[in-house]
Amino acid sequence: MTGFRILAVGVGGQGILLFSRLLGEAALSQGYDVAMSEVHGMAQRGGVVESNIVLGEVKSPYISPGEADILVALEPVEALRALGRCRKEATALVSSDPVVPQIVKDGLATYPEVEPLLEKMKEVLGKVHIFSGEKLAREAGSGKALNVVMLGALAGTGILPIPREAYLDAIRRVVKPKFQDLNLKAFDLGYEAVKA
């Protein structure tokens, strides 16, 4: 493996940090070098959250515009906002369920119709997978497992040289026993959604 730059984006509360932690642990268990960075604090109060994950020979724990090889978006508007951080050839995994910001509910901004915009994304990027991650997470037992659905989907693409079992191990090591079955199921549903 040379190097991979993965950008994960979403909204505070969606569990981006756990997503990155699991991905990092899975990569580390395979002996890959891992560097990540995230921003805490104000961003977590319902704001945009992003996590930069680099694997292999890349050292910089931050991804510049035009550099991401893989975009994992837990929210469609956040996928669009992060598009400029991708390489033209990048692969994107997008969960299509909107999280409408308070500012829109207060009538101070508008939330775009995302469907045609996500279709357009397909024209400008290497490969785009769009699916309702929340639906799959609920099928697994809780909408909160969206982050692990997305991890499963990332594994399902087969882009990263990390075997499926390494992700499952990471879930078993990191996630509380009480929530493991739910998350293992969520992983599988995400994995199959992209593989099929």
Binding site: S60, Y62, V77, G84
Partner: protein, 560 residues
């Protein structure tokens, strides 16, 4: 067991920079820690706090502010114990008075001062470069680039501090404190009991009256000279000598440079000076590095700190090399860097072809709704703001009111529809600035401050306000926790961690009453009752305090 204690020596773990600092401090035998939380430093205190509850050999406290925390750590170090204090960059402003003279009197046990800077202001009111505090105080400074270095440098900082008998500054930035990387850990010493130290009296050392201070300043300068020698030989300062083009970098820029050199295919041509021990400036090493170079690019975020040191060196030593940096327009003096920027600058400095990575076309994307951080659903602050706003509306005073505010979640009261934050500088400034506003304008002044901020820096200006006869209404938003930075304890909290069960509850209401100030306490969820009381308080037009007491909803859930 706390996960940072469970790591076996030699194990490699994915750790956050702040976690690596904690582990490094424990490996070095830290005995006493004290801090006031602030992003991006907060996790250091959080971990030490919870670890101190497991290990009888470790003491940690969340002090009322950074100055107090530094004094706790300093006196422990004066007794020969290893101590640490950590804070965000602006926190060091609060502790600066202590720091400047602490450098003179010094320490016996190793003492580390962690300052976490925040280029790009991810969660701060400014992006000051705290490397200048090392120069201002005359203290040695280490700057890790990765979590692994954060662990190693923390460990080394204690050794260095004990050797030189002065505190050592460990300076990180957000991209180091909040980066995660693979870290190989070392061994933990015995923490089964708290070994006390002993304070050895020495008037010529610990009491910096002028006659003593004059001598201690000389001692500090001698230590600096010694430290320069150590910096020039430190393993954290690496030289890779190749061709006539050089790059100097420190902090996270080091890894950006390493990636850029590789991706531009310059590995066999560019000479590198990668610095981790940056104050005192490793002059001997830098001189050696510069000799024979034609051009040298300096890569560092924020101020031209290394750049200017290098230019002084070039002038004094009459070297031929051309130093390129911010003054030559290669980098801005604001905001954090990103890797591509560094690549482009290297290519430009050394005349290489460079094509920026190609991003997809994004011109078709419509304006996207922003996601400004907002007060949580059910947050008591929002209820308080509404109560005060409506009370002012009923008095016909809303248009005429200025709202000085303070640092915390409630700063978000600035957003519509509330728009109840008009002026902010720093911790405690709501109260101090209200004093000035009440002198300078006839507008009504209603200011807001949180509980933790009140204890941190709100009390001296409140006493000033009362004594000087200033007129304003101070609303203390007492949600019984330091919510913004992750629910650290405060003296007014009634729901408290097990370890603090025996501590007194310090009521802000009683404190203000005892000062003799007109004070009321409201429950913001009992809207009509609260509004009536607020209206009466506002009608008097004298200095008065409204304590709005209701625990943070997130903390309430977590604390149960």
């Amino acid at each position: 067991m706390h996960p940072l204690l469970a790591i076996k020596p030699g194990d490699k773990r994915l750790l956050m920079g702040n976690e690596a600092i904690v582990r490094g401090a424990l490996e070095a035998g830290l005995r006493v820690g004290a801090a006031y939380p602030g992003t991006p430093s907060s996790e250091i205190g959080n971990h030490l706090f919870s670890i101190s509850q497991e290990l009888s050999g470790l003491y940690f406290e969340f002090s009322t502010n950074e100055k107090v925390a530094m004094e706790v750590a300093a006196s422990a170090a004066a007794c020969g114990l290893r101590s640490l204090t950590c804070m965000k960059h602006v926190g060091l402003n609060v502790a600066a008075d202590t720091l400047m003279t602490l450098a003179y009197v010094g320490v016996r046990g190793g003492m580390v001062v962690v300052t976490a800077d925040d280029p790009s202001c991810h969660s701060s009111q400014n992006e000051q470069d705290n490397r200048y505090y090392a120069r201002l105080s005359g203290l040695p400074m280490l700057e890790p680039a990765t979590p692994q270095e954060a662990l190693e440098m923390t460990r080394e900082a204690f050794e260095l501090s004990e050797k030189l008998e002065i505190p050592v500054i460990l300076r990180t930035t957000t991209r180091v404190s909040h980066a995660r990387g693979v870290v190989a850990c070392g061994e933990l010493p015995d923490y089964s009991r708290f070994e006390k130290g002993r304070f050895e009296k020495d008037l010529k050392r610990w009491i910096p009256v002028p006659a003593v201070a004059r001598e201690r300043h000389k001692v500090l300068l001698e230590r600096m000279a010694e430290a320069e020698g150590l910096a020039s030989k430190a393993p954290f300062n690496r030289v890779v000598k190749k061709g006539p083009f050089g790059v100097v970098a420190s902090g996270v820029s080091v890894v950006y440079v390493l990636d850029a050199v590789k991706e531009l295919g310059l590995e066999e041509e560019v000479s590198l000076l990668l610095l981790g021990f940056t104050h005192p400036f490793p002059r001997t090493l830098a001189k050696e590095f510069l000799s024979g170079l034609e051009r040298c690019l300096v890569v560092e975020e924020l101020e031209p700190y290394l750049e200017e040191a290098l230019k002084v060196l070039v002038a004094e030593e009459e070297l031929r090399v051309k130093v390129l940096g911010k003054a030559e327009g290669y980098f801005p003096r604001y905001h954090e860097f990103h890797p591509e920027m560094v690549k482009a600058a290297l290519a430009k400095a050394f005349g290489r072809e460079y094509k920026a990575p190609e991003a997809p076309d994004t011109s078709w994307i419509p304006e996207l709704p922003p996601r400004p951080p907002t007060l949580c659903p059910g947050c008591p602050h929002r209820e308080t703001y509404k109560v005060v706003k409506e009370a002012l509306q009923e008095l016909g005073e809303e248009e005429n009111t200025v709202y000085p505010t303070d640092i915390g979640c409630y700063t978000l009261g600035l957003l519509p529809p509330l728009k109840m934050a008009d002026y902010l500088l720093c911790m405690g400034s709501s109260v101090g600035s209200s004093c000035g506003f009440s002198v300078a304008t006839d507008q009504r002044i209603v200011s807001f401050i949180g509980d933790s901020t009140f204890f941190h820096a709100g009390i001296p200006p409140l006493i000033n306000a009362y004594y000087q006869g200033h007129r304003f209404t101070l609303v203390v938003l007492d949600n019984e926790t330091t919510a913004m930075t992750g629910h650290q304890p405060v003296p007014s909290q009634e729901i408290r961690p097990e370890a603090l069960k025996e501590r007194p509850v310090i009521s802000i209401t009683r404190f203000c009453e005892n000062l003799g100030l007109p004070t009321i306490q409201i429950n913001p969820y009992k809207k009509e009752e609260a509004k009536k009381a607020v209206r009466e308080m506002l009608a008097s037009e004298r200095l008065g305090v409204i304590v709005s007491k209701a625990p943070c909803v997130l903390y309430k859930v977590k604390g149960k």
